[in-house]
C-alpha cells in the first residue's frame, strides 16, 4: 500500500508540474497565477499521501500549513489587480 500511495503522490506532483506550462504560455498573469494555485493544491495532496505512506511525523502539519497558505499569493495578486486606477497613484520621486 505505501508504494501505491507514493506512486500516486509522484503522479500528482508530475501532473501539476506539467500545468506550469501555463506560466510560459500565459497569456495573462491571471493564468500564470492559476498554475501556481494548482501546484499548491497538488503539493498538499502529495504531502497527505507521503505523510500516510511514510509515517514521518510532521508532514501532516506541513500539509496543514500549506493548505492555510494555498491561495494567499493568488489573493494578494487579485487584490492588487482590483485596485482602481486612482488608487494606483504613484509616489512622486523627490
Amino acid at each position: 500500500m505505501p508504494n501505491f500511495l507514493l506512486a500516486a503522490a509522484g503522479l500528482i506532483t508530475i501532473a501539476v508540474a506539467l500545468g506550469l506550462a501555463r506560466i510560459l504560455r500565459g497569456p495573462d498573469d491571471i493564468d500564470r497565477m492559476m498554475a501556481t494555485q494548482l501546484l499548491g493544491t497538488g503539493a498538499i495532496g502529495t504531502m497527505l499521501l507521503v505523510a500516510n505512506a511514510t509515517g514521518v511525523p510532521g508532514i501532516d502539519d506541513l500539509a496543514l500549513g500549506i493548505a492555510l497558505l494555498a491561495a494567499l499569493a493568488t489573493v494578494a495578486f487579485l487584490n492588487v489587480v482590483e485596485l482602481e486606477p486612482d488608487e494606483m497613484g504613484h509616489e512622486s520621486r523627490d
Partner: protein
Amino acid sequence: MSLAIDAFTIICVAAGVFFYVAGTIGLIRFPDSLSRLHALTKADNLGLGLVALGLLPRASNFPDAFKIIMIWVLVLLSGASAAQMIGRALRRGRR
C-alpha cells in the same frame, strides 16, 4: 475488512489522481481563462477531496482524521474564495 478498506483507499486515491490530471490537462488545453478556472477548481475540490477521503480510513486516531478533514476544508475555503475573486477580476477585464 482491511481488504475492503484498502480497496476503498485505492479507488478514491486513483480517482483523486484522475481529477488532478484532468485539472492539469484542462489548465493547459482550455482556450480561455474562465474555462481554465473551471478546470482548476475541479482539482482543488475533487482531486484533493478524493485523496483526503481515501486516506481517512487509514488515519490511526481521531485527531489525525480531523486534521485531514481540516486540510480539505481549508483548501475548499480559500480555493473557492480565490476562484470567486478570479472570476470577478476576469469579468471586469482585470487580468
